[in-house]
Subunit: 340 residues, 3 copies
């Protein structure tokens, strides 16, 4: 592929030799001659002077004549867009493998790929161009939209609804029972979980994630939410549009998370609280109370991020502080004795 | 279903029109006309005045004539009991799917459901009315009791023993190798894990949970234990009767947990310790020592819950405290100077 | 098996009756007459006087004539070596089950076991004596070495490379997409993940672990690494030789972990940092910065382990310290008043 083709594909402005043959895309550090790279974060601009890449995607301001440039408004986005040009990932085979086991009144759209050993229940509806990898299990009355990709060994239990362009990675479990019990003397009586899960368009769900069905009503993952691996989402949780849930986060029952929220890795939220919109919660935080929109919190229990940071720094000085207070007590005692 | 039928089913006392047609069950907030709701926690009793439900299950004390009532001793339990009356979950198809692959000397009880693509090893025994969903794998010499439900893609490795009325959600792995190695110069030699896992009656195990087999002897989950999603239970752990293990908890090797213990979400327990009976451990706590029965602990490392709470509140005042000590030092120095 | 056979197998020195019939191996506490036990940690040597075992594997120094002894240099290693002598684990059936579904140009080595319902893609290479348990999915262009064991329901996505003697437990997902998105107004654009995962010889990977493929290049698990259950390893992470990753650890994108590192349970590492060789990180720690080789750290954010321990002890004294400072302020004020 010639550099001029890439510039055209990106709608970018070419600076340098358009006939340059580009063989791959890589980071500033790992590019080889023949590769195109990108500068997304201006703080790394010095690396443009050391990269071995033959060309770079940059913004409108960067100055260099060491290598050919393609200028665009958002180099990081342009990078994401050209990656598929250089990768040779084989699409899954089209059609339905003969090992497919299907229930009654199942509707399957056009141009789907269904790989071996997939099982679907009764009254399932699947849209167009959707891919079900090997060993996917889909229960009764599930609906799945168009252009969905469901990787191997995913379990989707009865009644779950999934929108368009959703991606679900291997081993994820959608619609398992919520964790609800009535204490009875010293034992626990299970509360039947008869609600469902609704997953809207453009959601991505990581490997081995678990999303429980609601007790009644629905667990609701709204449009554009991105969920990393090994996340736990309990019954009746709501996640607002475009929120980002990093790996190993746990969200307890009936908690509502707003839109464009970021939960960093290993965060835990207790049940029945409300996280506002645009909130950011630091890694490993434990959130025990509702949080207003736009707040940035950290710690366990979580408080304002800056307050938490200051406390943590202070904490390291605490052993010395105790010594200083002991000193003061001795000195004050001496002063008091001197006075009397 | 008429309200009088529900009252009779629950053995409750009817107040209001028995002929009332009830179409569903829901929470105080989400009920619609035609629904029955419930008041389990007296602190929400004001919601009886705003709910749109046509009837409510309440205890013997509540006073209202806004809607029809069914009085019972335990409204929360009654709620759990009536949910199935209104849900239309289709039971799994009875019988054994022809894709079933079975080893030698396998015994399967009466009225089991075995869905597609289940594989069982040699000398496996399965009780009556047990359900194995699609893709379940069961190793050699496993025994499973009556009325057990095992959801899709569960792995049960060789030799594991499972009691009656056990529920295992999708993707759980029971009987994987314990994590044991002998350090040898700079490498590690695997310790063969030849013990097993024993799961007693009425246990529920969440989605994508992992329970390792013992090195020797057994990992032991006692009667009535409830385990939420993504929990890790290491080799040789014992969990006492009716304990509750919330999502993403991790329990290290050979630790013993007593009966009626509650481990909140994301708790971690180190190995070789003993947690007494009726202990409660707060979310995200890290427990490094044995804990006596009836204790309530929090924090990492975990200490008495109230002490921990007080420390956390104090911690936020620490930056200011450091300033106050600095002040005091200046003032005391001045006093000392004045004295001399 | 006679005790003299065991001594010979271990190359150990026999003290006592060589004809003794040994029926099993167990711990000091749980051994029965007829069992052989072992003393690995000298601090438990008193238990040699109470164990019911008939023989013990000990080092060269231990003194007792209560039971027969086999003296070796490393009793713990000897224990690991004799366990298989007494276990009766049935090897998986040899050969390829007829339900095997295979792509084009697939090479399978000699004496492999492929259990039911395994699916492999195109151009897959599998070495000799490798075992694929039921329901394993292997994507296109994967290579797997000799003597590898892959347990049920493991997913290995396209292009992943796996060395020799690797063990992968049930439900693990290798080569799922890295979690990478470009923010675009209020939504997120997926960055295609076209790198791969390289797993070297002698690695063990626990149940339900997730290891994401690199965005570009590779996620790299080096020789001899041992990974416990439910661990998350993000895109482009490198784990150095012989490192130990305990259950539920999460490692964020592009972080490099050195060799012979130990990450205890539930540790979290942020992205783009470098952990030196021989580092030890305490359970539940949150690491936000690079760490030099040989350091021992704990806490969230993690600091020197001893400093952290001291701070945590001090923290519990903080409420009392605040009281003491208040007292001092009162007393100093009084002194100041007296002076004026």
């Amino acid at each position: 592929m010639r550099l001029s083709d890439i510039a055209q594909f990106l709608g970018g402005e070419l600076e340098g030799e358009g006939d340059l043959e580009i063989k791959g895309v890589n980071t500033l550090e790992e590019s080889q001659p023949g590769d195109i790279t990108f500068l997304a974060n201006p703080k790394y601009k010095a690396k443009l002077h050391t990269t071995r890449a033959s060309a770079a995607i940059v913004n409108r301001e960067v100055l260099t004549d060491r290598l050919a440039l393609v200028r665009v408004d958002n180099p990081y986005l342009a990078f994401a867009r050209i990656i598929p040009l250089f990768s040779k990932i084989e699409p899954p085979p089209p059609g339905i493998h003969p090992s497919f086991i299907t229930g009654e009144e199942v509707q399957i759209g056009q141009n789907c790929s269904i790989l071996p050993y997939v099982v679907v229940g009764n009254r399932v509806k699947i849209g167009d161009r959707t891919v079900l990898y090997s060993g996917v299990y889909i229960g009764n009355d599930v609906t799945i939209g168009n252009d969905v990709v469901i990787y191997p060994h995913v379990t989707i239990m009865h009644g779950v609804q999934i929108g368009n362009r959703v991606i679900i990675h291997s081993g994820a479990v959608i619609g398992s029972d919520g964790f609800g019990f009535v204490p009875q003397a010293e034992t626990y009586q299970k509360i039947p979980q008869v609600g469902t899960v609704l997953i809207e368009d453009d959601v991505e769900i990581g490997a081995n994630v678990t999303i429980d069905r609601a007790t009644l009503g629905k667990t609701h993952i709204q449009r554009g939410v991105k969920i990393d691996n090994l996340v736990q989402i309990a019954h009746n949780v709501v996640i607002g549009e475009n929120s980002i849930i990093v790996a190993q986060v746990g969200i307890s029952g009936s908690t509502q998370v707003g839109r464009n929220v970021t939960l960093a890795g290993q965060v835990g939220l207790v049940g029945h609280i409300k996280i506002g919109d645009y909130v950011k919660i630091g890694a490993q935080s434990g959130v025990t109370k509702s949080i207003p929109s736009h707040a940035v919190v950290s710690g366990s229990p979580a408080v304002d991020h800056l307050l938490w940071k200051k406390s943590q720094v202070s904490l390291l000085k605490l052993p010395e502080l105790i010594q200083r207070v002991r000193d003061l007590e001795r000195r004050v005692e001496e002063l008091e004795r001197g006075k009397s």
